[in-house]
Structure formats: C-alpha cells, structure tokens
Amino acid sequence: MTTVLVSLNQALRSCLADSPDVRLLGEDILDPYGGAFKVTRGLSSEFPDRVMTTPVSEAGIVGVGVGMALRGLRPVVEIMFGDFMLLAADQLVNHAAKLRWMTGDEVRVPLVVRTPMGGGRGYGPTHSQSLEKHLLGAPGLRTVAATALGNTGALLRTAVLADDDPVLFIEHKLLYGSALLPAGIGAEFDIQASEERYPVFRVRVAGAPTPCLTLVSYGYPAEQARLALKALAFEHEVFAELVVYTQLGPFDDRPLRESLSRTHCLLTVEEGTRSLGWGAEVVASGLEAHGSGLRAGRIASLDLPIPAARTLEAAVLPGVESIVASALALLR
C-alpha cells in the first residue's frame, strides 16, 4: 500500500536524484529522526550535502529559500507545523510572491514551502490549524494541497522541478497515513483527473446516476467528503459528485462551473475556519459563474481556535456526518 507519506517521500527523493539544484531545508529533518512527520526520512543519509537541518527560524529559513531560489537553486523548505507559517508570512507574501512581478518578470523564485496543516490529533490551538486561507489571496503565490487521490507525490515533484514560481504545499496531517486512491474506475468510485499540471479530480460513486449536488473540497476534508458521497448514495439515495482541487489558489473556476452546470447545487468542504475562507471564494465564484438558481452552503471548522480535548476538537472540526446532514438540508 502506498501512503501519502511514502508518495511524498519518494517524490522528494526523486527530485534530489534528478536535479542537482534541489536542496531540502528544515528543522529536525535529518536522519535518524527524518522530520517531525517523517516526510524527509532517509533523504539526509542518501544526499547528506543537500539536506540541511536548520535552527528554529521559520522566517529565516523561508527567506533563505527565497534567496537560494533567486540565485539558481530549487529549494524545498519544510515548516514543521503549518501554524508556524505565519512566522514566515512576510517572506512568502512580501518577497517570494512579489519578486517576479515587481521586477517586471526579470527574476523567478522556484521555491517550495511544504508544511503540514490540520487537526484531528489533539495538538490544540497552535498545532492543529488549517491556516492556508490567510495566504491564499497573495498574488504571485501558488498554493497546492496534497490529496489521497491520484499520485500526490507527482504534485510535489511538479512543484519542485517544473514550477518556476513559489508554491506553498499543504499536507494535512491525517493524510500522511492514508492510502493513495488511483484515478480510474474502481469498485467503489469513479475518479477522473483533469489535465492541468495540478489536476482537479472529479469523484463519483461508481455506477451512480446523474448527480444533483456538487461537493467541492481539498486535502483531508476531501476524504471526508468522499465518505459522505458514499453515505449519501447508499443511505439516502442522493447522488453527488465531488470536485477535489489540488491547486487552491489561484482558483480556477472552470471545473466548478462545469460541475454546477449539471447540479445547480454546491456544498464546499474545508477544515479552515468558516468565515472569509476558501469555501467563501468557491461559493462566490460559483454564483458569479452560475447566476441565480444556485443553491449553496459551506462546511468548515467553527470560527474558534481548535481545542485540545478530543470531544471539543471533534465538535469544532468538520466531520462526515455534518457533511451528509448539510447536503441533505441543502437539497431539501
């Protein structure tokens, strides 16, 4: 079984093997520890000169990555927890994202910043967040999210080797152990991938009739939405299709419009807090494209910090049951 973790690890190994310009930087990423979530395990043993452990200096190391990228290297910086991204927000928003454009396209910044986001592990308010929404609107920054669909390591490889602009690469912690679900028609799901370099996946229950609802999601919540898709079909005879984005920003509304032209009904599913988030952008884009006659709703975390206690955390984060309930309410 190939997990998301294995896929990402193999992708980084292949990047190091295939391009002498690739460097990995991050806190505690050397063997035998191999990073807090083990994404870099084995790589410092294989490429000792090109995998660099760093001090606890998130702003410093993302800035160093920007400088390296400006001068011909292809750095990949790991930020141990996505919550710490805000320490490096200046580097990402004011430097990495702007440099190409503000110099009149004279320079490029082929930097990847990888970071785990998300809750569900009881880590509490500062180690559980999905903060990407605060960075998504920065012009010049591409944000890509790992997924359990298709080959997620290939996404990372594209970001590292084939994208000459800065990429913020989001990895939900609960995805690491998930098995990759290949595109194609399997026993349970029909999964189609678009042609974009950061593809959009369309997921339906195998053999389901024309859908009446579009679920839009990314990352781990897309896995929850996939389970909701199944529950809706088998327990409620409601057939939906799930559109899973891997590139969150800039947002490409074409796959959304295409699906809404069939369903006229939209439910977004994300783990960031509900207000002013990615889902709000998706709904707004859907409305602009579809016009009146669109029914829409959003599933997200409550607008609260993420609590540590299991019972409280579960109440704040979105879950399969709340997706199913919201979908049914929307269609009622």
Partner: protein, 308 residues
C-alpha cells in the same frame, strides 16, 4: 560595476548619487516624481566606498534607502529616474518604484530586515556555485529592531556563508534616535554570532574602502560572514518633509559632508569638470525619463504570468 580605487571616479560616483537625489527631491516638489522616496544624502561614502570593493558578479542587496547603492553599483541613471517617475522605461517597468529595484545582481526591497535572510540564501547559493562571488547586504540601524536579522546572522555564521553585512548607522530610525530604539551594543550583535565586524565613525570614502576590502576578501576566501558598521548621518529627511531633528545637529554633521571631504584631495579643475559632467548626465537622464511614456496599464500582466 568594476572595482575602483581611482579617487576621481570615487568622487564622481558620490556626486552622481548626491546630484541624483537632490533632483529627486526637487522632482517631488514639482510633481514630477510620484509616491515616496528615501534619500541617503550625506551617506554617499558608504555606498560608493563599499561597492567600489566588489567585482562583477557579486550580489548586492539593498533596502528602502537604496538609490545610492543602486547608482554606486552601476545601475542605469535614466532607468532609475524613469522608475521613480512611473515611466515604461523604468528599470522595473514602473512596478517597483523607489524602494523595489532590480538590475543585474542588485536587489532592493522596502521591507526592513526581510531582505537579510534573502541575502543569506543568496550567499548560500553563491557558495554552492564555487565561483567566488560574495553578497553585500546593506541595512540601517532601524532594521536592527527586526528579529529576522538575528536569525539570518545565526544562519550565515553557522553555515560560514560569503556575505558582508553593512550596517549604515545614520543614527535615526525614521524619526526615532538610536538611543530610543536600540539597547546594548551594535558590534556586540555581530560578536554574539561569532561574526567579525569592523566599526568606524567616518564619512571618508577612502577610509570606507580601506575597511571594506579586507572584509570582502575574507568573505570571498571562505572565512564566513563579515560585518561592517559605518556610523554616518543623513542630511535629508527620512522621506520627503518629515524631519523632526534639531537643525543645529544637522548643520554640525554637515561639516563632515563626504563630498567636500574627498574633493579637498582632488585638483580643483577636476572637481569642477566632474561636477559639470555629472550634472549634465543627471539632467540628460531626468529629461529622457520625463519624456518617456508613462507605464501602460496594458502591461499589467497577471501574477504568475497568467499561468493557471
């Protein structure tokens, strides 16, 4: 720009900066220059002295007060004037303006301190290229309040990177005197990270050169990061008209103006000739910039080049 030890050329470079920046301030009052600016009138010996010790291929990282660095690096006078006037012919096509300049291996940004880890990363990349380039990064006393500077000093020293960090202490962070914004010792900031640093209160371009050359040579030869602390003074306001300093203090520092200080070593005829040449060059650059077309909104290409 090529290394230079010719006293006449050093004078020419300093006068070019002075004349250019005086023209910029004049341009604001005439409505010709738009936006903001931060001039370094009085600090010319730093830019010229330091960068006259660099060689082609070395990387320069500058800050909001960067016209002097840009011109001392050899950046195009007309391109800079045009950038500040929002013309299509500006070095960054009107997108960057006064604080965000890029030309060849010169980079500047208006985020204080945020540039220092970039410079550190550039030094790492240059070391890996093994062709002996160094990075010279300028920062002011005000920027010493930014935490990321210290992360960068730590990284640069830890990894022995070829970078020279030049602190231009003009004694004010915007309007706040250094006594009210910085605790402790300035050289001790470098010492704490094991970075050797030279320190001098000087506006003499030759002395700046004498201090800088060994530091650049050391960084180039693999000795790791080097610090240079230059105590200086700006005669001009922080930006345009926002000066709250005591005029008698400014007058006192004007006695150590780097231009007459260095000109006194030169033949009067040379000084006069260079003065005329520089004025003519700056006139020509500003006229050309003024007659260039304004930056065209149709050139507002999408971020990420329009790739989805």
């Amino acid at each position: 720009m090529n290394p230079c030890d010719d006293p006449l050329e050093l004078y020419r470079r300093m006068l070019l900066i002075r004349t250019f920046e005086e023209r910029v301030l004049e341009g604001f009052s005439r409505g010709l220059v738009y936006g903001t600016t931060h001039t370094a009138i009085g600090q010319e010996a730093d830019a010229v002295g330091v960068l006259s010790c660099t060689r082609a291929g070395d990387v320069v990282v500058s800050n909001h007060r960067g016209h002097g660095h840009f011109l001392a690096y050899g950046g195009p006078v007309e391109g800079l004037a045009a950038e500040m006037m929002g013309r299509a012919t500006g070095v960054c096509r009107g997108r960057g303006g006064s604080q965000h300049l890029h030309w060849k291996d010169f980079y500047a940004s208006g985020i204080l301190g945020g540039t220092i880890p970039l410079a550190t990363g550039m030094a790492l990349a240059e070391r890996e290229r093994r062709i002996g380039h160094v990075v010279v990064a300028f920062l002011g006393d005000g920027t010493l309040g930014e935490g990321v500077v210290y992360e960068s000093l730590n990284l640069a020293s830890l990894w022995k990177l070829p970078i020279v960090l030049v602190v231009e202490n003009n004694r004010y962070a915007q309007t706040t005197p250094i006594e009210r914004h910085m605790a402790g010792s300035l050289p001790a900031r470098f010492a704490a990270f094991g970075i050797p640093a030279a320190e001098r209160d000087t506006t003499d371009v030759l002395e700046v050169r004498r201090l800088t050359q060994p530091l650049i040579d050391a960084a180039r030869s693999g000795a790791g990061p080097q610090g240079l602390i230059l105590h200086t003074y700006r005669f001009s306001a922080h930006s345009k008209g926002d000066d709250t300093r005591d005029p008698t203090e400014i007058e006192r520092y004007r006695r150590s103006d780097p231009l007459p200080l260095h000109a006194s070593r030169l033949a009067a005829a040379d000084v006069q000739r260079i003065g005329e040449e520089v004025r003519a060059a700056v006139d020509q650059a500003f006229q050309a910039a003024e007659s260039a077309a304004p930056a065209d909104p149709r050139t507002l290409t999408p971020a990420l080049g329009g790739e989805r």
